[in-house]
Amino acid sequence: MTFSISEGMFVEDFFEDGMLHVITLRSTVKRGKIVSVKIPEEIPESVTVIGAKDIPGNNSIEVFGRTMPVLASDFVRYTGEPVLLLAGPVEKTLHEIIDNIEVSYEEETPWTSIKNYSKEQVAEERIIVKGNPEQAMVDAFQIIEGEYTTDTQVNRTIDPHGAFTLYHGKILKVISPTQWPFHVKSTVAGVLGISPRSISVHVPEMSPSLEGKLWYPSLLAAHAALISYKTGKPAKIILRYEENILFTPSGASVYISNKTGINKEGNPVVMDISITADTGAYPILARELLDRVCIASAGVYACKNMRVQGKIILTNTPPAGSYSGLGLAQGFFSIETHTSRISELSQIDTYNWKRANIIRKGRHTVTGDPVVTEVPLEELLSRVVVNSDFQRKRAAYELLRKRRNGIEESPIPYRGIGLATAFQGNSFIGKGEEGATYSVRLRLDKDGSLTIFNSGVSEDGKAAAIWKNTAGEILGIKNENIKLEIAGTEGIPNTGPSTLSRNITIIRKLIERCSQAVKKQRFRHPLPIELSRNIHLPRPIEWKPGIFNGKIFPPLSWVATVVEVEFNATTLEVEVRGIWLCIDAGKILDQKSARKRIEAEVLYALEWASSALEADDILYSEKILSVPPIYIEFFSKSKRNQPGGIEELAMSSVPSALISAISQATGYFLDSIPFSPQSIQRLMEEQ
């Protein structure tokens, strides 16, 4: 066996003699019972067909207690759901055979709406009540209502989803581009009904996945593994482009209504927030998503009376994935757009309104958590406002807008500027990981080289560089003498999923602790020294009616963001003139890398807010021609020594600031993303 995994190999690059290609027969209906499957009798011997009944172990993939089938057995819940696997040496032959397989369905009316839903569709519910919202709403001076919709974040990663499996002796090797190698391992073991010890997972090269490779790669690994298990041969499944776009997880779409009562001064005294989120046919990660949307939808503002109701609604679409923010971005879009609207209707400058109402030390968050440390938002807001000249521009553009008579030909450009804030935490907050222990191991060898063992996946290499620097600085070892073992599960401790900034906030911290432990033993014990350090995750938060206990997201990272736009009154197109972000994320380990990461996230946020499914080509063919200037300032008032996450701050703040800017430029209030010239046209006709 010549199998080896080397640097630069993506999953599609793996070939082995006797390898079988695997393709998927997918459901052609949104919802229905599988009545019959007719496979042609004249299938070549070299072709293997596997259905749900052929699965030797569990026909399920599980994430934090929620499951979905590996192959549909008797019922399908979305178009594209895998029903059968076909494997053979020639892919073209498989496609010819699949065209002749007849599957008949007894179709049922699909669930499509998250606004008009039945009880059956509700997968998860939350309610938070703080103070006395009913009475406060009656007593309010004015009530301002808004409805906010965020569409799905589409999977557009350039390298396709896939998996490659082969036996190496009695060990089943699984090559899987995943953010969570140990999840692949446990899933494949469960599906095959074998011991996890006989499975070894390796992570090949991956391009930036935007959190789209958290759990879905485990499904494809299970598909390839089923073929290898049945045939004993290497098997490779690579999804085609249209399969990647249409059937792999996208970010959840969310609808939020916010009814806010304000006092005479325009400050909020009560908020009644209602959330429905679409996680598709199977509510994988639904609990986590709902918790995060609920928290973010209340924003960063002090309000004594509050009711937040959240529901996860099942629809007959592909299950939703993780994606940036995992709910925070959707929640912040609604509250930040809503508060900009409140300030406008109250005739208070947006900056002054937000600054006056942000939560401060000594108060309680929507979760009942006491704020015990200084919240840096006031400082961040004032800095970003100065950096962008926000107040002068906002006032000037407002004056120009009021002088215009709707949208008309004008020699003076239509401009607008918007402001938004957000925070992010790190790691998961919901149930699922309770009691989990994750660890990192270091080995200092006789030749002075250091090897880091952890299952974390550094997709773009930035996290890996930080891990090496952290260990190198503590132990005084040059980077070229530090080796990072290829991510996977073979001889590597479980470090959990590489998502939600955990590579920095958990893995880097473990490497730091482990390096300090090695440093203590160095020169006292003979080499090699091999040590590991563990982290026990805290108990999960618990939702109770009216009370939400527990400290969420320690430590928090904060951002204040300004976006300025120019609107073309003839083509209804929007050009972003500049984006300013002021960020407090504690200690920034590598300023250059952090800036690049945030710049990339800003572009993803713009794409999510402005194109999505309506204009597939914008990011790649047009937006690239107008990459806006992005100004980033890192500022930490607390001087805290530990780094916080930065990866979701742009996604949570840029869309709302952008929409507020467009609303000012056009004079029409936008409340949904994505926007497009067509959606602005519709708004003009409606309003």
């Binding site: 190999m9 993506f10 690059d13 391009s207 930036p208 890398s593 572009l603």
Partner: protein, 156 residues
């Protein structure tokens, strides 16, 4: 169908189905993995090669058009001084290359610099707009291409 063509400077003779994609021939028959298949519609740019001296999406080229043609892949181009100029220019700018798209990007940059040794920002972005990748380090990429042009001009 027997087809003779020049691949990376070598005369080769292959027996293939005429409609087979050149991308698949390069990857599966010759092991040239730097041309990558994502969309198979010519949109993503990951499968870029030089076909008779012009950049082209190899996923859209059928095998029968290979007859008497000249194909150059990144594997061959990476050995040239022109490629080293580009790699140095990008590295000097701090461009953090993405292993998926960078080989194709480098071929596109080479084609751009051959036609326009001193491209401005718009020309660079326009030339690279056919590449679909989320790596997005545009600021360094633009600076890197300008660097590469200067390095190449000095060397030549």
């Amino acid at each position: 169908m027997n087809i003779r063509f020049t691949l990376n400077g070598q005369d080769v003779l292959i027996d293939v189905e005429p409609e087979r994609r050149v991308l698949n021939i390069l990857r599966e028959d010759f092991g040239y993995f730097h041309a990558r298949g994502t969309c198979y519609t010519g949109e993503c740019g990951a499968c870029t090669i030089f076909f008779n001296g012009e950049i082209a999406p190899s996923c859209l080229i059928p095998a029968f058009t290979l007859r008497e043609s000249k194909v150059i892949t990144f594997e061959w181009f990476s050995e040239t001084e022109d490629c080293q100029d580009i790699i140095k220019g990008l590295a000097d700018a701090g461009y953090e290359s993405c292993k998926y798209c960078t080989p194709a990007r480098i071929l596109v940059i080479h084609a751009l610099l051959e036609n326009n040794p001193r491209p401005d920002e718009d020309e660079i972005l326009r030339a690279l707009s056919g590449m679909r990748c989320y790596c997005s380090d545009y600021t360094s990429l633009i600076e890197g291409v300008k660097n590469a042009g200067l390095i190449r001009n000095r060397r030549r």
